[in-house]
């Protein structure tokens, strides 16, 4: 029997896991990284953030070319070679994942391909193609991530009923695509397929789509989607699906009306579930919450003192950068830093067209928690830059502490919102006030000016908006 000893073992090679492994190795730890898939990078790299963004970029060209006609520059209708598109996308993944493998090697992080399973609180059994290996560890970091949830009722074994993983493979362009779930994954994939020419119907059980974000930020996205999608149905419920020839027969209820419709493909994007159900956690003291996510303390430590957990598998906002941040917190604790980690804000970006990005306190959260705030909004219709590329539906807003004028939240809708939100994160984390932001010169003409001008709106003296004096 094969037994290896290591200081730190990391289970899962996604943005949480590899970040943890690298950081620990950089601090002199002997690290083993266990990943069941042949490629490192996890969901994010292989079937999440990166491929979805690649496809969004590629298909955005189609929309752009069409839009261009009204500006006097016309193109012929595009032809889409799906194989080539897929190959290009996979090439990116390949490159990135090789990059990560190279980084692991250079840091002396040993990667073992296999499935990790805890025999007890200090032993990880790794099931590889060549058989089992036993890893005795001083500390383990669980970063096994999550997978799309596929409710039993939809799990017919029909590959035309897809999760995001399947949708990213773009096997074909379905004529009619049903997307179940109006979260960001559904919206992003809907954007891709609509651009490729599918008639997209989106069904959401709640009263609105993209429920985490402020309504005013979501509105331009909905307006746009209502144009490019066939239909968006909120407060609608899919009850049943059945295979009918090469199509799926879907039963749903909408507006108190039962409907039965045929779709060529269905994308189920109704949430994600943690990957920790079958990895021997019952042999340890690790505890799960009632939704099956691993419970951790402020330092990412589970109930089992030698085992930490980070990323999607502990729930919360399931985003790659959250996983990477948590990786550092866990490793810092492993390295002997016993301080309670400083709180941090996690920005969120929805890469639809237009994009939505926000960070810190949202207006709806403030309302819900009864926190008094002041809100300053700058409409992009007043931005020269936005006008110059024909996208004036955007908006930049600041959520402010009414007394100190400190920036508590930033919300942006519009192309490039995802790039711009980083400035909001820095401002909030630095404890900046609206005045600080207003006093920083922003380059012209750029969208970044809208942040400065939103701050100026607060003082009633934005150059490009006439607004009543507030101070």
């Amino acid at each position: 029997m094969n037994s290896i000893e290591t200081e730190v073992v990391v289970v899962g090679g996604g943005p949480g896991g590899y970040a943890a492994a690298f950081y620990a190795a950089d601090h002199g730890k002997k690290v083993l990284l266990i990943e069941r898939e042949p490629r490192l990078g996890g969901v994010c790299l292989n079937r999440g953030c990166i491929p979805s963004k690649a496809l969004l970029y590629a298909t955005h060209m189609i929309t752009e070319a069409r839009e261009s006609a009204k500006r006097g520059i016309s193109f012929q209708d595009p032809t889409v070679n799906l194989d080539q598109l897929r190959e290009w996308k996979n090439g990116i993944i390949q490159k990135l994942s090789q990059g990560i493998a190279g980084l692991a090697k250079r840091r002396g992080v040993e990667v073992i391909q296999g499935r990790g399973y805890f025999d007890d609180g200090q032993t990880l059994r790794v099931e590889t193609e060549e058989g089992q290996q036993f890893v005795k560890f001083e500390q383990a970091v669980i970063a096994v991530g999550s997978q799309s949830a596929l409710p039993k009722a939809f799990d017919l074994g029909n590959k035309r009923i897809m999760t995001s993983r399947g949708a990213l493979e773009i096997e074909d362009i379905p004529e009619k695509l049903l997307i179940v779930g109006g979260g960001y994954i559904g919206m992003e994939m809907g954007t891709v397929y609509a651009a490729l020419g599918s008639k997209v119907v989106m069904v959401e059980a709640m009263e609105g789509i993209l429920m985490g974000a402020d309504k005013d930020l979501v509105k331009p996205v909905v307006t746009q989607a209502q144009e490019t999608f066939e239909e968006i149905r909120t407060q609608a419920k899919v009850q049943k699906m059945a295979t009918q020839g090469k199509q799926i027969l879907v039963q749903m209820e909408h507006d108190g009306e039962a409907r039965e419709e045929l779709y060529d493909r269905v994308l189920v994007a109704v949430g994600r579930k943690p990957n920790c159900a079958d990895m021997g956690l019952e042999n340890t003291q690790v505890q799960l919450d009632d939704r099956g996510f691993i419970q951790v303390d402020d330092n990412m430590r589970t109930n089992e003192s030698k085992i930490y957990a980070i990323g999607d598998v502990i729930g919360g906002v399931m985003l790659a950068h959250k996983a990477s941040k948590e990786a550092r917190i866990a490793v810092n604790h492993i390295l002997g830093d016993n301080l309670k980690p400083e709180s941090f804000i996690i920005p969120a970006v929805v890469f639809t067209d237009p994009e939505i990005a926000w960070c810190g306190l949202t207006e709806s959260e403030a309302k819900q928690k009864d926190i008094p705030v002041k809100v300053a909004k700058f409409p992009w219709a007043a931005s020269g830059r936005a006008l110059s590329f024909d996208r004036t539906e955007g908006m930049t807003k600041l959520i402010l502490d009414p007394d100190s004028e400190r920036i508590l939240g930033v919300g942006i809708t519009g192309p490039n919102a995802g790039e711009m939100i980083a400035e909001g994160v820095v401002a909030i984390e630095m404890g900046a006030t609206a005045e600080d932001l207003a006093n920083c010169v922003h380059p012209h003409p750029t969208l970044s000016e809208t942040l400065m001008e939103a701050a100026e709106v607060f003082y009633g003296k934005a150059t490009h908006v006439a607004s009543p004096k507030r101070k």
Binding site: K340, E342, E365, A366, D401, S404, G431, A432, T433, E435
Partner: protein
């Protein structure tokens, strides 16, 4: 009734019992002196707060006692036992069971003795801290200790748990690196006032807070040590232990312990010398005519019970110069980086006593006549000699005069009496050849020196001050100097 050691003024927290004047069973009058305490500045008589019969005496001569400590029990006939003195600082039933526990200062006797004054602000670089009202002295139990919450930076914003930011779960405004440093230091940023926009905490704010915390802790430790140290315990050591030299190897020696006054002088002088960049300016005043005037007026002063010396003239000349150069009556507030110009003209007079140097302060010199000043000077000198100066008697000066004229010697370089920024040193007037007009004449010349704090005052200013000060001596005449 428990009689406790009252506040001794000027930040003195403890003293040594030099004489115990009553014994158990004695009947005493109100204000009769019970014991004498040699505190850091003088010997203070501690009077009986009420008439009555002395019960248990809880101290003996030579004991070190701290403010608030119970000295003795006085049966004042009020039938009150322990309960007759109550204060709002939380001492209660445990009083009786812990005889040595010092209690709050709420029990300072009225009349006679020094009145409890506020604890002076201990200046820390860029910072200050204060004690809540009514806590001018150490309290009985640690739970009564002043809260470190009271640390403040002037002008900075104190964070509120009620702010929208706090309600939304944000920590006080500070960069991640500062938040991290605070966490490493175990500091709750909610308590660190921020001087940046919107109350943002800067590195300087954090440093200042840590500095003040450090200082507050030292003061508190001093209190605690004084409280827990039993009778006879020495004051806290200030430096790494110095090594003794065995001088007897070279001949016979005799040893004498330092008095607490000597220790205080030693500590303060070191402090002042280290803190203040000193410059000393030299000059001489022709006091030939003034001395003649003094001699002429002396009898009329004597008739009124006062002895006219050179000092009141010097004081008058000095306040005149101060009016022209008010910076010499200022203090540097290190906390706010402000100069505080004092509009009053209290002048400290260094008095050489058998036990050492003390500096009583004569108030409002500008408003008093030479006669009043003369009277007050002899009264203070008397008190100093008897070591009966109170803390109040020795605080509040804006500048100090150190006059060695009566003893001898010429120029010397006095040390500035912090927080004052200047001190005037006078030597003995002596007949000297002086050039007057075209002639060389024998004149009575008085050596004058001026040491000043170069942080606050520059050389040019000092020279101008000296010129005006010397000039002011010429203005005395029979009319304006008569008793």
């Amino acid at each position: 009734m428990e009689v406790k050691l009252p506040n001794l003024g000027e930040g003195a927290e403890s003293g040594t019992v030099v004489s115990l004047l009553v014994s158990s069973g004695d009947t005493v009058e109100k204000d009769q002196t019970l014991i004498e305490i040699e505190n850091e500045k003088a010997v203070a008589p501690i009077p009986a707060p009420a008439a009555g019969k002395i019960g248990e005496i809880r101290i003996s001569e030579g004991d070190s006692v701290s403010v608030g400590q119970v000295i003795l029990i006085l049966d004042d006939g009020a039938g009150g036992g322990d309960s007759s003195e109550s204060s709002d600082s939380g001492e209660s039933s445990s009083q009786g069971s812990k005889p040595a526990a010092p209690a709050s200062s709420g029990s300072a006797p009225s009349g006679g003795g020094p009145r409890p004054g506020g604890m002076p602000m201990a200046p820390a670089p860029g910072f200050g801290f204060g004690f809540p009202q009514g806590m001018s002295a150490p309290a009985a139990a640690p739970s009564n200790l002043p809260s470190l919450h009271d640390i403040w930076i002037p002008g900075a914003v104190v964070h509120s748990a009620d702010s929208s930011a706090a309600k939304a779960g944000f920590s006080p405004p500070a960069s991640p690196s500062i938040r991290r440093t605070a966490a490493e230091l175990g500091i709750d940023l909610m308590k660190v006032p921020g001087s940046g926009s919107g109350g943002r905490i800067t590195t300087e704010d954090l440093k200042a807070y840590v500095g003040a915390l450090h200082q507050a802790v030292e003061v508190l430790m001093g209190h605690l040590q004084a409280m827990s140290a039993g009778p006879g315990a020495a004051p806290a050591p200030e430096k790494p232990k110095p090594k003794s030299i065995d001088f007897s190897q070279w001949g016979e020696v005799k040893k004498e312990p330092l008095s607490s006054l000597r220790k205080t002088i030693s500590r303060r002088m070191t402090e002042h010398w280290n803190d203040i960049p000193h410059v000393t300016q030299f000059d001489s005043v022709d006091v030939t005519d003034l001395n003649a005037l003094r001699k002429k007026l002396a009898p009329s002063y004597k008739e009124k019970g006062a002895r006219l010396t050179m000092t009141p003239f010097v004081m008058k000349a000095l306040v005149q110069a101060l009016d022209k150069h008010s910076v010499f009556a200022s203090s540097l507030d290190e906390a706010t980086q402000e100069l505080v110009y004092k509009q009053y003209r209290h002048v400290g007079i260094a008095v050489d006593t058998e036990a050492g140097l003390v500096v009583p302060v004569i108030r409002d010199v500008d408003k008093k006549s030479l006669l009043e000043l003369s009277a007050e000077l002899s009264e203070m000198a008397e008190k100093a000699k008897d070591r009966k100066l109170s803390g109040d008697d020795m605080s509040g000066g804006v500048i100090t005069i150190s006059n060695q004229g009566a003893i001898g010697g010429a120029h010397f370089t006095p040390i500035v009496n912090k927080p004052e920024v200047a001190i005037v040193g006078l030597g003995r007037g002596a007949m000297q050849p002086a050039v007057v007009g075209e002639k060389i004449l024998p004149r009575l010349m008085m050596p004058v020196t001026l040491s000043y704090d170069h942080r606050v005052i520059d050389g040019g200013t000092a020279a101008r001050f000296m010129v005006d000060f010397v000039e002011a001596f010429k203005e005395f005449n029979e009319e304006n100097s008569a008793a």
